[in-house]
């Protein structure tokens, strides 16, 4: 009856996506999977995220007499936008281990889920054996190295600390799986601003007290707040001693902008 005119399409949903698929705008996508090569290879091979999106800036860790401290501000940026201003970037993993993370925050959150799952497994044994910081550090090293070897890195720079058999442990791991231990470690801008501030206090092999350590971290966070455009004035500190681990803060850095009015000429 209607076959002589074209008012009605005989085919329902012509040119539309098949069920469960998305519509491909002309010229944007060429296969039906519509994953853009991110989850499975398309005709142009597979694609990976090759730059971080939401990022945390510096993390600083110091050893002190009988423990370790890790500090980071509470900002997660979206490019130059100070997007999330109340985010924890230092964590208690268990009674022996603390971590701090800079770099892509999504990558960190996904990794943190795996770490937390490991801690649940640890707990299920009910044998009072906890993962020690060095084990976590080494595990992270292998995970990150593995991902970099697949050219699909987890864009992270992490600081791992804690008490390893009664001794303070402090290590650093980055997106390539480059790892090292030291009495003071820092990531990002902290490498340039914070490391010298701490190193000059321990240059002759002095060991900081807990108080000195938290003071020097405070100074570091202050300097970083002044000079790092991706830092905010609020920061948290994770502390690990033989008594256990705790995350303190958020703290506010000292800031004084009276000087700013004197700056002229540009």
């Amino acid at each position: 009856m209607y076959s002589h005119n074209n008012i009605f399409q005989t085919e329902l949903w012509k040119g539309g996506p098949s069920p469960g698929q998305f519509y491909n705008f002309p010229g944007t996508n060429y296969n039906n999977s519509n994953t853009g090569g991110f989850t499975a290879p398309d005709i142009f091979g597979s694609k990976r995220s090759s730059s971080p999106i939401t990022t945390g800036t510096s993390v600083i860790g110091v050893k002190f007499d009988g423990g370790v401290m890790i500090a980071a501000d509470n900002l997660v940026s979206y490019g130059s936008l100070a997007r999330y201003q109340d985010v924890q970037r230092v964590f208690k993993i268990n009674e022996k281990t603390i971590i701090g993370a800079g770099g892509d925050f999504a990558d960190f959150q996904s990794l943190k889920r795996s770490i937390d799952q490991k801690m649940v497994e640890d707990m299920c044994y009910q044998d009072d054996i906890d993962m020690k910081p060095k084990s976590l550090y080494n595990w992270l090293t292998r995970i990150l190295y593995n991902r970099r070897s697949r050219i699909n890195p987890l864009w992270l720079e992490m600081v791992v600390g804690g008490m390893q058999d009664g001794e303070p442990f402090l290590g650093h791991v980055d997106l390539r799986g480059r790892a090292y231990e030291d009495d003071v470690v820092a990531t990002g801008f902290g490498k340039h601003f914070a490391l010298p501030l701490v190193r000059e206090q321990i240059s002759n092999g002095e060991v900081l007290t807990l108080n000195q350590a938290s003071q020097v971290l405070r100074k570091c966070m202050e300097v970083l707040y002044y000079r790092d455009c991706r830092a905010i004035s609020k920061y948290s500190v994770a502390v690990s001693t033989a008594q256990g681990t705790i995350v303190q803060g958020p703290f506010e850095v000292n800031q004084n902008w009276a000087l700013a009015t004197m700056i002229k000429g540009y």
């Binding site: 010229g27 060429y30 005709i43 142009f44 091979g45 597979s46 694609k47 990976r48 090759s50 730059s51 090293t141 190295y145 970099r148 070897s149 050219i151 890195p153 650093h172 390539r176 799986g177 480059r178 790892a179 090292y180 231990e181 030291d182 470690v185 490498k191 340039h192």
Partner: protein, 231 residues
């Protein structure tokens, strides 16, 4: 076909978009000198990339057995992966054969492990020092894809090219009559190794902070540390 044509010419099927480099040079130098009944191996302790020093106390000498020490520098994450693989394989060997791997066997294994990654190499400069089955000092050196050469002395790492000619002169006696090659006493080998690092630290920004020196003899391994310039 029209699908490919609508892309810029650099996007061809199979091409990988890549602005992440899996490699990084973390610096560090190694010097190894073998004698009749000893071998000296030394490496600095600076770990850096570009103008940034990550740590001033990174040991780059890996003791693999009572008579074998591996010095490894270059891309530090590759060094970590490679040395832990070597350690694992040496433990497997020990469990299978109920004996420790000889230096020669480690040397051959290292070459194979590195060549296994021929098309995605470990970006490392390795120098293996040890006593052979006859108790003589030996040095093996490698390129990143596993080429292995047995020698009596070698400088490797970031200041390798700077130091090798010094060793050729001071240890190899290359300028001297071929028949009268001097035997190098242990004390001289140690001094030359230390001086080599003091000199390298003057010109190579990736070498410095301190140098760890291991001496392997039949009586065991001794270690000493000498401070270098830290700038």
């Amino acid at each position: 076909m029209h699908k490919i044509q609508s892309f810029p010419e650099y996007q061809v099927p199979g091409a990988q978009h890549q602005d992440f480099s899996p490699y990084e040079s973390n610096g560090g130098s190694i010097v190894a000198i073998a004698g009749e009944d000893y071998v000296v191996i030394a490496a600095d302790t600076r770990l850096s990339s570009g103008y940034t020093i990550h740590t001033r106390k990174q040991n780059k000498l890996f003791q693999l057995s009572e008579k074998t020490v591996l010095g490894s520098t270059g891309c530090w994450c590759d060094t970590l992966a490679l040395t832990s693989l070597v350690n694992a394989r040496m433990q497997m060997y020990e469990h299978l054969h109920l004996k420790t791997m000889s230096t020669e066997a480690v040397a051959q294994m290292l070459s194979i492990l590195m060549y296994n990654r021929r098309f995605f190499p470990y970006y490392v400069s390795n120098v293996l020092a040890g006593l052979d089955s006859e108790g003589k000092g030996v040095v093996y050196s490698y390129d990143p894809i596993g080429h292995c050469e047995r020698t009596t002395y070698r400088a490797g790492g970031s200041a390798g090219t700077l130091l090798q000619p010094v060793l050729d002169n001071q240890i190899g006696g290359k300028d001297k009559d071929v028949k009268n090659k001097p035997k190098v006493p242990l004390e001289k080998a140690k001094e030359v190794a230390k001086d080599a690092f003091i000199s390298a630290a003057e010109r190579d920004i990736y070498t410095g902070d301190s140098v760890i020196l291991k001496v392997i003899t039949k009586d065991g391994i001794t270690e000493e540390e000498v401070q270098l310039r830290k700038d």
